[in-house]
Symmetry: C2
Subunit: 299 residues, 2 copies
């Protein structure tokens, strides 16, 4: 079954202590769509400017991503510049050019409206709502977010949480949302806001799923060297929903294994700048890491 991915499509200029890379393919939808594409057919909805490099369109196409919902508008592509600290855990934004994103309204082509699996990747909650307004009863809806929306669009986000099956956020965002320093009371509070499933991402420390079957504590894949963690969270959630779409059936039953596969894709994302490493791996490589991860938690 197919996955609809809506989010940002951007150019990222990323500085790490080791290297600097300008105008890489980035954005939550780009990372998530490529990650999901290893498992299932993907339809991507987003917007880019006339300056968007052709090679990146070719790259989407290489991953068989349906681009009918990708608007190409007059103006500049959304451009984020950021810098990582030495331990790669903290990043700061150097500059943001919204460009064509400023006036973006996601329009869903007719055949997108029946997508059974929907990933509302990180983007303004009002746009995430707008996508859901156009959908015909999807089977499973996941929403991701970022601290920015918790700070400037909390009302919209809280309304969104009542409309999604799963909500994904990182540990510092969970703290920001609930004021809880410990993630387990935080999970409880977030469930009360609506979502049946809550997934808290903890970077190198893995992730925690909370749902009707209780808590699942998932490890991150042990990579030797983080080159660039940008997009790892998007890759994680993209891989997760892609896996769910590929196996179909009962979400509850497959979600833990889906998270393991999401972690595997995220690990590749961190091993190169932007999407450079992710786009060079195969489903077989991902499955091999997922299998290794499964062995690392087996008693």
């Amino acid at each position: 079954m197919s996955v609809l991915v809506v989010g940002s499509t951007a150019l990222d200029s990323i500085k790490t202590p080791v290297l600097e890379n300008p105008r890489l393919l980035g954005g939550s939808a780009s990372h998530a769509a490529v990650a999901a594409s290893f498992f299932a057919p993907v339809k991507m909805v987003g917007i880019v400017g006339k300056d968007f490099p052709k090679k990146y369109v070719t790259l989407y196409k290489k991953h068989k991503i349906d681009l009918e919902g990708l608007q190409i508008a007059d103006g500049e592509t959304f451009h984020w510049s950021g810098e990582y600290e030495l331990n790669m855990n903290k990043r700061r934004t150097l500059n943001t050019v919204l460009g064509v994103f400023e006036t973006f309204t996601p329009h869903l082509p007719q055949q997108h409206k029946d997508s059974p699996y929907v990933l509302l990747a990180n983007i303004a909650p009002s746009l995430q709502h707008h996508v859901l307004d156009q959908m015909n009863r999807p089977k499973f809806i996941v929403a991701d977010t970022m601290d920015l929306w918790l700070n400037i669009a909390l009302g919209d986000l809280l309304k969104l949480l009542k409309r999604v099956d799963a909500f994904v956020l990182n540990d510092s965002e969970a703290h920001l949302l609930t004021k809880e320093t410990n993630i387990f009371p935080a999970l409880k509070k977030i469930h009360k806001l609506g979502p049946k499933y809550v997934i808290i991402k903890k970077g190198e420390h893995g992730s925690v799923l909370s749902g009707p079957s209780g808590i699942f504590i998932a490890p991150a894949y042990p990579i030797k060297c983080v080159i660039d963690p940008t997009g790892a969270g998007d890759s994680f959630v993209g891989g997760m929903i892609g896996y769910l779409a590929s196996v179909g059936g009962n979400v509850e039953k497959n979600l833990r294994r889906a998270i393991i596969h999401g972690s595997a894709v995220a690990s590749f994302c961190c091993e190169g700048f932007g999407l450079s490493r992710t786009t060079r791996v195969t489903r077989k490589d991902i499955d091999a890491r997922a299998k290794e991860l499964e062995a690392m938690v087996r008693l």
Copy 2:
């Protein structure tokens, strides 16, 4: 089979953002011995002063800890005072009175020398050596340490690593020892120093075991509120070796489950000041949490 625990026996005065508790029973050997006692008979070796409260001796005895190796010397008991920050992750030492510890030499009673399981809990590496010098070929030796010894007694510690089966340290100590920010390359480097098994403790993020069967990523038990994390690492390693001694047989086969049981004991330790919570639980309570932890990593 029995466990020999050697380490510090102390009084701890602990300040957290919420409470202040003077002269609690503390020290690496106290925490580790009580933790191990839930699983197997424990012999403890340490030293206290004449000021050591009788109630704490009663408490050791309640846990059936063999105290023949506990020296009672003229002078003050080792006394540590420390303070935790709001998020309970960072602590700073306010004061240390070495007291009788200053001249401590661990003497092993005759029947201690054949103990099959030996835990060299956190104490000066020279004393850990001194214990091993007196032992008759134990089946399994675990050593714990702290940053202090990495800074002031690295030579002794490096020699010790060639004499132990397993080495336990936390993530910041692993960084201090190997200069690696990522724990997986750090594990590789530490194996080269001697130990067949290396276990890195990551506090609320669980622990990682590296050994001949590969990597095992163990979760920490999700507790709602950390009251006082002092001794959690000692409880973890004590519970782990206690479990190993209780099941006997092949260490390789049982180590992952032993780590899960160690995590369960450590979680109780964090839920009260000093040993106040740990000494009120039963083996049944610990097994229940271990079972919950196993369910949290099951796919």
